[in-house]
Symmetry: C3
Subunit: 260 residues, 3 copies
């Protein structure tokens, strides 16, 4: 059974500690792929909630110190239970606080995957980068090298989103050509991708494959939605519905992955 | 005049202290039924804001201690003014903190209605139950009995959402067959139902009848939307617009209620 | 080049410190007009983030003391760098806390524009007013005079939204007849207007003209969307897409402004 279909069978709980801008989109995305979302941030319950979950997604899009402390608490509990953690270091590189916080989380929590745009990943890899608010600007000719370096340093998967997505564990590297530029004209498609990744890692037996298939699934859903409309707000609706309707077979038929 | 039509005439203010996941949907739902939403959580203003309101909706979907303290403050002010309070104990049963918090609020505030899914209501009734994140799992053969018991214990209405909704005051019990499974595939339809309940309780002269008509209205809007589309994101749009367009007469024509 | 087109060329970063009800709509609105949104509220980064921005939007829709302190910190940094600040005093007049907070921000931060509904502006102008939650109620025959007075007192632009919008610097006054009543049936159209205003002020060389063109652009987008649908949830989608598709020329063709 494909990982996508397995999610719909197992309905894993994906615990999010995330920003208040795109949190509703993350929740609906999680439900659309067949997983169950829960958002909980109180220090009085995050350990209990993550214990019920099959994946934990940490997103620093609207971080503050109390939220970061809770992310670390939840992340360490997830580590102790073997629950995969996804970190979305939104805006790392834009302010010193975001860069420092992403690094702190990576020091305190063992993550299964870091998912960011080219600017964020380049910054965390120590190769510099420019992030305007939460948007990657500039060209990153050496992004594959940066992604590999970060993956090796952290001992985790690194997923870089862009015109083509990259998934690497430091050794293997896949480029995923699925996706559509319309995805970049809607707020939250980065965050929503982390929810999808969380769902796939929750049920996948092999994390590398799960991450590649997550990005294929997400990109194919975007392509299908863009065939219906490319106006951003209508596209977002179509995209969520495309995620809800897509099967593992449907994604496989449009899969465009090269490995190196 | 039906309660639904009365809401559009009186435009009651429904003060919400609620979660950040579905808060926008709750606000748009409130506006769609003809009431006015306001969200305010500062201890420096909740008492003033609730004094302007005709109903208060408390939802613990993303609770923390400071929010709970404010809920109690606002709830007690509402009590002193005779303003009906709706509690949506989201995720009670999932973590001890959520269960305990729901119980604390019920001890400190006299609520007009508790609205939850089968798992949440069963847990609060002391009958056990399983809640996965914020989703009810399992079968609850004795849910009517649990709802009645909780209603009698708290001296309030209990509304249980599910394939059929239940409204009981401990003595009377109505089963409402309106609604559609598509409602369960969108994040927030539970929370949005509490906003509708708040609007109906705000203007209804008889709380039992108001709660029953609220759930009928809400369910009929879901049925009408599902005739247009069942893709979840498009359904949510259709559902909100169905709520906005539905009249008291329109709801009455499709009303399916049995009492026992 | 029109200001609208200039936004799409320059992609200014618009930093928001705003409420959690409509924050996603504000972000998508900002992106739709061609600017880049960022939301950041931690005292550890707001000064750094605003330093990267070309405009700052402060919205007190769900204020509390820690958020207000951060707004002032960010606002003062923006002042020191010459970055225009927009204040949306949501609900001023509804509770003493909101009125007082809006006044405090105006005392501590030099704002480029205050944007509110008739009740909010009238209250801040010292002319009294009634605000039910966040909605203006009542008639304001002297709203032009109130707007002028507030503009002169604060030395800033005042933008009043309503059936016709008003923009004044205390001397010049424009009435903008663009817009559609459907905009009032969606939660967040006030807040979204502040984001548009922020984007226009960010790139406009003349602030008065930028504010007028912002409200024309916003109103025309609403008119075009209302030609497609007036059901509120579908309208919101159409409205966002109308904002995304509208050009400076397109807005100019439907411009209806009278100055006095």
């Amino acid at each position: 059974m494909s990982i996508a279909d397995l999610i719909r069978e197992k309905k894993p709980l994906v615990h999010h500690i995330t920003n208040y801008v795109t949190v509703n989109d993350c929740a609906n995305t999680t439900l659309a792929i067949g997983a169950l979302p829960v958002m909980a941030h109180s220090p009085d319950e995050v350990e209990d909630m993550v214990s019920l979950a099959q994946a934990l997604v940490l997103n620093i899009g609207t971080l503050d110190n109390s939220q970061v402390a809770v992310m670390i608490k939840a992340g360490q509990k997830a580590n102790s239970l073997g629950i995969p953690v996804v970190l979305d270091p939104v805006g790392a590189g834009a302010t010193p606080y975001r860069t420092r916080t992403a690094e702190t989380i990576l020091n305190e929590v063992t993550v299964a995957a870091i998912k960011g745009n080219q600017g964020e990943i380049s910054v965390l890899a120590g190769a510099g980068g420019e992030v305007k608010g939460v948007e990657s600007v500039g060209q990153y000719g050496d992004i594959e090298e940066s992604a590999r370096r970060l993956a090796l340093k952290q001992g985790c998967l690194v997923v870089v989103t862009g015109v083509e997505d990259i998934v690497t564990d430091g050794t293997r590297l896949a480029r995923i050509a699925n996706g559509h530029p319309a995805m970049g004209r809607v707020v939250g498609t980065g965050c929503m991708g982390a929810s999808v990744l969380g769902g796939f890692l929750a049920v996948g037996t092999e994390q590398w494959e799960a991450a590649v298939e997550a990005m294929v699934f997400y990109g194919v859903a975007g392509e299908l939605a863009a065939e219906l409309t490319q106006s951003p707000a209508a596209f977002k609706i179509a995209f969520l519905d495309s995620l809800a309707g897509l099967t593992g077979d449907g994604a496989a038929r449009r899969r465009r992955v090269t490995t190196r």
